[in-house]
Amino acid sequence: MTVTICIGSSCHVKGSRLIVEELQRLVAENGLSDDVELKGTFCTGNCVKGVCVSVDDRLYSLTPDDTKDFFEKEIKGRLA
């Protein structure tokens, strides 16, 4: 599974660094480093909402606060 987080200007301002760090921590803590590849991308053109994160080809819009829920549901949940 590839999780891509936008690190462009707009998403950076909206907190992509916090999300990257949170996801890196959660992936490591749950021992999913072999299953989940975290990647960065520059602007994907969907900046209007929150920070753009895509899981394989599905696009999500996150804030640092819902990162944990997102991880449980969309990453851990799907791998289970």
Binding site: S10, R17, V20, K39, G40, F42, C43, V48
Partner: protein, 390 residues
């Protein structure tokens, strides 16, 4: 014309307790490839010395740049300088370094410690002739210059460093030469060399300089062109034109901005890679495109570069962290401030719809202003700047 240019960097410390420096540096460019640099040290310290040295350096640099002889300069100074009330003399020492066509350096000195000339980091004793003008003994020398030739001019505050404190007779010129030979590195800029030497003088003075001390380094270096592109063109049809102009230029290439790097990657037919390494939590990670020397995010990174540029010009040591940090802004700073001599900016004027969100602290006019301000700062660092808009 050759591919050499002069890198000039100077720095002063004031006599302890003085607010004004009695030394003054004046730099006048004579066309593209010739420069006159004058370091003057006024009699005494404080306001009086400051006026004397400012007048002296200003008069000499202006006259020399207009091809007038040293004799005329010295006569004019003697006739113009105000006479000191206490000492009944008008006096200011000076050192002139004149680089002609980036081919030859002419050194003319009066009563300052003699200019130190390093070739490949080793001291070279250059032949000098003397001339009496208005009862003053003037030393003259001419040197054909090569890449990495370094000329270090100083006021007598340098050789007096530490007198009666850490050293009995001050810091002798020979010892300064030894120190600079040991400190020298081809990678160092003129400003870095001046800072190293001045720092040592200040240290010998125990942080309380007994005299105004100024170091001015002139380093002959190869021109290093640098190209920086930021923002997509306002007309999407111009992308190819902008890219081909940018990538056809000699020198290193820096691409800033997510959309811009995506376009550059597409133009080059190479994938755009990104990293997730936050070297600095404030600065978005850099990207990677084969064939581009540096790929970074746009407006946040450039904003930081501008902050570093202002700090560099103000000699603010607190903002020198770019020199060792690895984030995008620090890497751009290193390339622009130290490595580059000629910088071409390629600025796209497209409005990024993503940045028009009123909640965001960035917008189009800010981006344009940032780049203009950065170009201005780089000009003040002595870089040749060209800006093209698309």
């Amino acid at each position: 014309m050759n591919n050499l240019c002069t890198d000039i960097g100077y720095k002063s410390v004031n006599k302890y307790g003085e607010q004004l420096c009695g030394d003054h540096i004046e730099i006048v460019e004579q066309g593209e490839n010739s420069t006159v640099i004058v370091l003057a040290d006024g009699l005494g310290s404080g306001v009086k010395a400051n006026i004397l040295s400012t007048l002296t350096s200003k008069i000499i640099s202006t006259m020399m740049a207009n091809s007038m002889s040293v004799e005329e300069c010295v006569k004019t100074i003697a006739a113009t300088l105000p006479v000191c009330e206490e000492r009944k003399i008008a006096y200011s020492t000076f050192t002139i370094i004149r680089v002609v066509d980036n081919r030859e350096a002419e050194i003319i000195q009066y009563d300052n410690p003699h200019v130190i000339f390093l070739r490949d980091g080793k001291n070279v004793d250059y032949p000098q002739t003397t001339e009496e003008i208005e009862g003053k003994t003037i030393y003259k020398a001419k040197v054909l210059i090569k890449e990495n030739d370094t000329f270090i001019a100083m006021s007598d505050g340098a050789i007096h460093a530490g007198i009666g404190m850490t050293l009995n007779y001050g810091w002798q010129r020979d010892s300064i030469i030894e120190f600079m030979e040991l400190s020298y590195d081809n990678e160092f800029t003129a400003k870095a060399l001046s800072t190293i030497l001045l720092g040592e003088c200040d240290r010998l003075y125990g942080g309380r300089p007994g005299d105004d001390t100024t170091i001015c380094t002139v380093k002959i270096r190869k021109r290093q062109p640098m190209n920086l592109m930021i923002g997509p063109p306002s007309n999407p049809d111009d992308v190819d034109k902008m890219m081909s102009l940018f990538f056809s230029k000699e020198g290193k290439h820096i691409v800033c901005g997510g959309t811009t790097s995506t376009l550059a990657a597409k133009y080059l037919g190479k994938p755009l890679g990104t990293t997730l390494g936050y070297m600095d939590p404030e600065i978005p990670p850099i990207g990677v495109i084969e064939g581009v020397d540096l790929v970074t995010e746009g407006v946040i990174t450039i904003n930081k570069v501008l902050e570093y540029a202002k700090g560099y010009l103000a000699d603010d040591t607190k903002t020198m962290e770019w020199a060792y940090k690895k984030d995008g802004a620090s890497q751009i700073s290193k390339l622009l401030f130290e490595e580059a001599t000629d910088i071409s900016f390629y600025i796209g004027r497209a409005i990024n719809p993503a940045h028009q969100n009123p909640d965001l602290p960035i917008n189009f006019s800010i981006k344009m202003r940032l780049v203009d301000e950065l170009a201005e700062c780089l000009k003040q660092m002595g870089k040749k700047i060209k800006v093209s808009y698309f």
